[in-house]
């Protein structure tokens, strides 16, 4: 590498931030193919719906957004959506972290476990849903086993309700989260755990005080991915959640495709995006606090 000085070693200066330019392609792509279409679409939320697919751009209105704030039906939908998202996030992390941890520390079995995780994620989402419909059905294997074992008298309602929707969505996003968390756990050196054990900590303490905090950024990132996925999914909750699980993505699809009321669907979309943005900012602030960063870079 050429250098104007002849010392051969450059004085280590900290430039303002040379890596900022790396973000340019991303933001060009985002702007042209995401922000512009998005703004165009959201714009329709402020105009009157004239009929299926027709928006009267001459007639501005806030009625659709207003309806969402005021009508208890929509308030319920918003609430259900948030609860659904949180449930999916929590259970995905509860299952995902142990799996990721065991894979990361597995040694011999690591390959096979990773293969299992990846292969199951490639099964089409439709087929996964059908599989769950059969498994969770009133006459399905799970209920049959429960009844045979005498644990229940009547079949449990496991599908076409919130339970089914959460199970299906957790199942869909779990492989992604596991794959995301494995490298994060591996970044936590085994020696750290050994050191803790050497200092007399019990295993539980080691998990709680050493491994989890070190994985914090990954957990937050994974949690946000899971939450965002839940907020965007409609196939799984629609097919497994039944009529009573009405969450924003399902309603948006209905408004966009069936009643073809673009302004309403745009208004609902804006609401959804705002919810997710708020949750994301909160989550990122929690995960990226200076303490966390300092601790991890050691």
């Amino acid at each position: 590498m050429s250098s104007t000085r002849d010392t051969g070693i450059r004085a280590p200066r900290k430039p303002r931030n040379p890596f900022r330019v790396y973000l340019v392609p991303l933001f060009i792509l985002q702007f042209a193919t995401f922000l512009v279409p998005l703004v165009l679409f959201f714009r329709t939320a402020f105009f009157k719906n004239e009929g299926p697919g027709l928006v009267d751009y001459g007639h501005a209105t806030l009625e659709y957004l207003g309806l969402i704030f005021v009508d208890p039906y929509f308030q319920q939908v918003v609430l259900d959506t948030i609860i659904f998202g949180l449930l999916v996030t929590v259970f995905t992390l509860l299952l995902g972290f142990p799996i990721a941890y065991c894979i990361a520390r597995a040694g011999r079995f690591k390959e096979s476990l990773l293969v299992i995780v990846i292969v199951t994620s490639f099964t089409s989402v439709i087929i996964k849903v059908l599989g769950w419909k059969i498994l969770l059905g009133a006459s399905g294997p799970i209920n049959s086993i429960l009844q045979v074992l005498g644990l229940v008298d009547e079949p449990l309602r496991l599908v076409n309700n919130l339970f089914g929707a959460v199970v299906g969505t957790v199942h869909a996003v779990l492989p992604l989260i596991v794959l995301l968390l494995v490298p994060v756990v591996e970044r936590v050196p085994v020696q750290l755990e050994e050191a803790a054990a050497g200092l007399g900590a019990r295993r539980l303490t080691t998990y709680w005080r050493v491994v989890l905090p070190a994985s914090r950024i990954g957990l937050v990132s994974g949690g946000l991915v899971a939450f965002a996925y839940a907020m965007g999914s409609f196939t799984t909750p629609a097919l497994l959640g039944g009529k009573t699980t009405l969450i924003l993505p399902i309603l948006i699809r209905q408004e966009a495709m069936t009643t073809v009321n673009y302004p309403m669907s745009a208004a609902l979309s804006i609401t959804l995006v705002v919810i997710v943005a708020i949750v994301t900012v909160i989550g990122l602030s929690v995960g990226n606090s200076r303490r966390a960063r300092v601790r991890e870079s050691k």
Binding site: P52, G53, Y73, G137, A138, V159, G242, K243
Partner: protein
């Protein structure tokens, strides 16, 4: 690691090439006004067995006659219509030339003037629609190609086990022994509105929705295949279904499943409802009007419809096609009721209120 850099460059170069090739091929889109006789003809149709049946019957005959291939955009009529709304809003060429429509979709598209009226192409094909009853749902647009009813499909052994008699009317769906084991169609499906009509006892759609809200269902299904799977697995014991599906269940296992077109309360003992029809319509501004018209003549032909019914269970609208079907297979004689014993759904009245009814349905059943 030079590999990695060169990989990145290769990707970028290839992407640029991809985009450039797109520009190149984009240049030759046909201008409107001139007729495209080369095809391919693009048809919107339900997926799976429906498209298979079209391929085996009308499309095959069409390609043999004209030498033009047929391509499909598969999905429910409302899915295909959504694409049409989007392209028409921008004044661009529609994504299909012909599409399968159901009553709500045809009515909505017609109201937006996105379909070609029959008068504009009837002269292109001799004797088109002469076999089909021309009382159209939407005046001036394509008449029905098949009619369908709502049936009550049920699990025979289970009914016997529960001590329930064979069902005869829609009220039988509300039996308390069936609690949590019945399936009804969601309002967004083609059979959703007719089903509400069926149980409304003649007192209006809102009354129908209220009555449905009292039912303890296993599922409010959006996909008939889903419902059939549940029924085959024993999760549900009775369901309101499209007649084609009902007969499909019966044919798959006559000992296990039965299906009837029940009595509609408040309709003087008439059965039904005669829920609706399927149509094929030509989309406005298609550059292939002549080819589309030719396709229509094939799909509305009696032979096509009889064969189509045998494969999919959807009953033809044309009386001569029905006769042809029965002569091929006698079992259909019992399944096709006399028109005047049935109750029709008044779509002209229902469609303008679809948005409100959907809202009401969601609120009361959600």
């Amino acid at each position: 690691m030079a590999k990695r850099r060169s990989l990145a460059f290769v990707t970028l170069a290839a992407s640029a090439a991809l985009l450039l090739s797109a520009c190149a091929s984009g240049g030759d889109s046909s201008d409107s006004g001139s007729q495209d006789t080369e095809g391919p003809l693009r048809v919107g149709a339900y997926g799976s067995t429906w498209t298979e049946a079209v391929k085996a019957t009308a499309a095959k005959a069409f390609t043999e006659e004209t030498g033009v291939e047929v391509e499909y955009v598969e999905g429910n009529p409302s899915d295909v219509a959504a694409q049409i709304y989007a392209t028409s809003a921008q004044g661009a060429e529609p994504p299909v030339d012909v599409l399968t429509t159901d009553d709500p979709t045809q009515t909505q598209l017609a109201q937006r003037e996105l379909l070609v009226p029959v008068s504009e192409y009837a002269d292109k094909v001799e004797g088109l629609f002469e076999n089909v009853p021309t009382e159209a749902n939407n005046e001036g647009y394509a008449p029905p190609v098949c009619d369908w009813y709502i049936t009550l499909t049920y699990n025979k052994p289970k009914f016997a086990e529960l001590g329930l008699p064979e069902p005869t009317s829609w009220d039988d769906l509300f039996a308390s022994e069936l609690a949590g084991r019945v399936a009804i169609p969601d309002i967004t499906t083609a059979m959703g509105l007719p089903f509400i009509f069926a149980v409304s006892d003649g007192e209006g759609m809102s009354a129908g929705i209220d009555k449905i809200a009292t039912l303890d269902t296993y599922s409010v299904y959006t996909s008939s295949g889903d419902m059939q799977s549940d029924m085959a697995n024993g999760n549900i014991w009775a369901a309101a279904t499209v007649d084609g599906r009902g007969w499909g269940m019966v044919d798959s296992d006559p000992e296990q499943f039965g299906a009837i077109i029940p009595e509609v309360a408040g309709a003087d003992g008439k059965i039904g409802p005669r829920a609706g029809s399927c149509y094929y319509d030509i989309v406005k501004d298609t550059p292939r009007l002549d080819l589309a018209a030719k396709f229509m003549s094939h799909i509305y032909a009696d032979e096509t419809q009889a064969e189509f019914a045998a494969q999919t269970g959807y009953i033809p609208s044309s009386p001569s096609a029905i006769d042809l079907l029965i002569s091929k297979d006698g079992k259909w004689a019992d399944r096709i009721p006399e028109i005047d014993t049935t109750v029709p759904v008044n779509w002209q009245e229902v469609v303008p209120n679809i948005a409100d009814l959907t809202d009401e349905f969601n609120r009361k059943l959600g």
